[in-house]
């Protein structure tokens, strides 16, 4: 992708190409790794919610600021991973993440020009919608009335975690994940 833009660059040696590939795959790989870690034995309360909050935050951030490295197919795979790790009925996480990705793509022309606050507000709305959607779909697919508490906690945790996540991801975006710095 970077090879197509005009400009003067060093020769595309194998090492350089590998470097670029690694930087381009950083968003997907780091999200998958975070999901695996969040499903691990950390002994934290509300770890299941933490996992879905991380998935949502990462997908939203990278879809806004680096959609080229997070194609819909990758979002789909991340969704399957999140469903398998989260023991939810399969497909729910996939749908939520794909819709998040779609919304971020739709809003990115406006949102990326705004400050952090409006991005965060948009994410709060997305997180609330995602938690409500997951709650409703899980209830539908398991034929059970579910308590709304976990869903509210999930939305609040995702919204609260996003600023911290965004700081870390923005730093990564400018340094290790930037193909132009290869």
């Amino acid at each position: 992708m970077i090879e197509r833009t005009p400009g003067i660059r060093p020769r595309p040696s194998l090492g350089r190409r590998l470097d670029i590939a690694a930087r381009c795959s950083f968003p997907g790989a780091s999200t998958a790794l975070l999901l695996l870690l969040a499903a691990g034995p950390l002994g934290l309360p509300g770890q299941a919610q933490l996992q879905s909050a991380l998935a949502l935050g990462c997908v939203f951030f990278w879809s806004l600021f680096r959609p080229a490295s997070l194609p819909p197919a990758l979002v789909f795979l991340l969704g399957i991973l999140s469903d398998l790790l989260g023991y939810a009925p399969i497909g729910i996480g996939v749908l939520t993440l794909l819709i998040t990705h779609g919304l971020a793509m739709l809003w990115r022309r406006v949102l990326t020009r705004q400050g952090f606050m409006s991005v965060w507000l948009a994410f709060v709305a997305v997180a609330a919608g995602a938690a409500a959607l997951q709650w409703a779909l899980t209830a539908l697919l398991t034929f059970r009335q579910l308590p709304p508490g976990p869903a509210l906690f999930q939305a609040a945790l995702a919204a609260g975690l996003y600023p911290l996540l965004a700081v870390l991801l923005a730093r990564a975006h400018a340094t290790v994940a930037e193909p132009a710095r290869a």
Binding site: A39, L42, Y87, P89
Partner: protein, 287 residues
């Protein structure tokens, strides 16, 4: 690679997301129609992750123990007096228990009592929480050829934990008795009344459908009942506690919030199906 014109490529790129969203719906339906595939995929992933999580679990547990012990340093003296008192009390109980045990053996010998078979068990380490947002379960790491089967009963050192619902090659998933799908036949030990213990996803499962004429009493011990041949009789479950809305709940004996090692007992209840499939289908009932 096929070379496509730019407008064609753009149109395809626009189509990807709707197609994938449709695929997500298909996946949901597939997962619902055939729970076996989802379960297989899940346990395959759990099998791959269980050894890694097992390695991770130990330092994390050690860190937590360290944090706990530093907190305890400040309450050592009061803790010591409390333990001394408790020890005195337990010594008295031990004397009573020994006397009762001797009496019980003598009476059973007189009655030609057929003893219950001693169940075989395996011990496994809890490596991760496997509940997700709307379930309560734990993942155990088991070596290859573990011989664990669905429906085996999990206990920790104090009481009932739950039942094995999914078995992989190296990992086992245990549904806790606090899970929303858990229904356990129990006996209220004081009145010998029967009841059903219903999980609510909260810390304390709820008691329901107790026998007419008996009423659960605060602090009463609750043990499993052999009814429906799902559990052996007399496994300790917990004690009755009435919540703020006067609903009887059970304070579990097992420490479900910090499970580390779990024993899985094989009581030979082979006819039992996993909780998810135990409801007979409407077509089967007519036969």
């Amino acid at each position: 690679m096929i070379r496509l014109s730019i407008p064609m490529r753009q149109a395809l790129a626009k189509l990807t997301l709707p197609v994938l969203i449709a695929a997500a719906f298909v996946l949901m339906l597939l997962g619902k129609a055939d729970t076996f595939i989802a379960e297989r995929a899940r346990m395959a992933l759990a099998d791959a992750l269980a050894p890694i999580y097992g390695l991770l679990a130990e330092p994390v547990a050690r860190l937590r123990d360290l944090a706990d012990s530093t907190g305890q340093v400040f309450s050592l003296a009061s803790e010591n007096t409390r333990l001394r008192e408790e020890n005195e009390q337990l010594r008295r109980w031990q004397a009573i228990a020994l006397a009762l045990d001797a009496e019980n053996t003598a009476l059973k010998a007189d009655l030609r009592w057929i003893p219950d078979p001693t169940p075989s068990f395996v011990t496994a380490r809890v490596v991760a929480d496997a509940g997700g947002v709307y379930a309560r379960a734990v993942l155990l790491s088991a070596g290859p050829d573990h011989g664990i089967t669905k429906g085996q009963i999990a206990l920790d050192d104090r009481g009932l934990v739950g039942r094995v619902t999914e078995v992989g090659a190296r990992s086992v998933r245990v549904l806790l008795l606090t899970d929303m799908n858990s229904r356990i036949p129990v006996i209220l030990e004081g009145s010998r009344g029967r009841a059903i213990l219903i999980g609510t996803n909260g810390a304390r499962p709820r008691l329901a459908y107790w026998t007419e004429g008996v009423q659960p009493v605060e602090g009463e011990r609750v043990v499993t009942s052999a009814e429906a041949n799902a559990f052996p009789a007399g496994l300790p479950v917990g004690v009755v506690h009435f919540n703020n809305q006067k609903v009887p709940e059970v304070e579990t004996a097992a420490r479900l919030d910090r499970l580390e090692i779990v024993r899985l007992f094989d009581y030979g209840m082979r006819d039992l199906l996993a909780p998810e499939t135990s409801v007979p289908r409407p077509g089967e009932r007519r036969r």
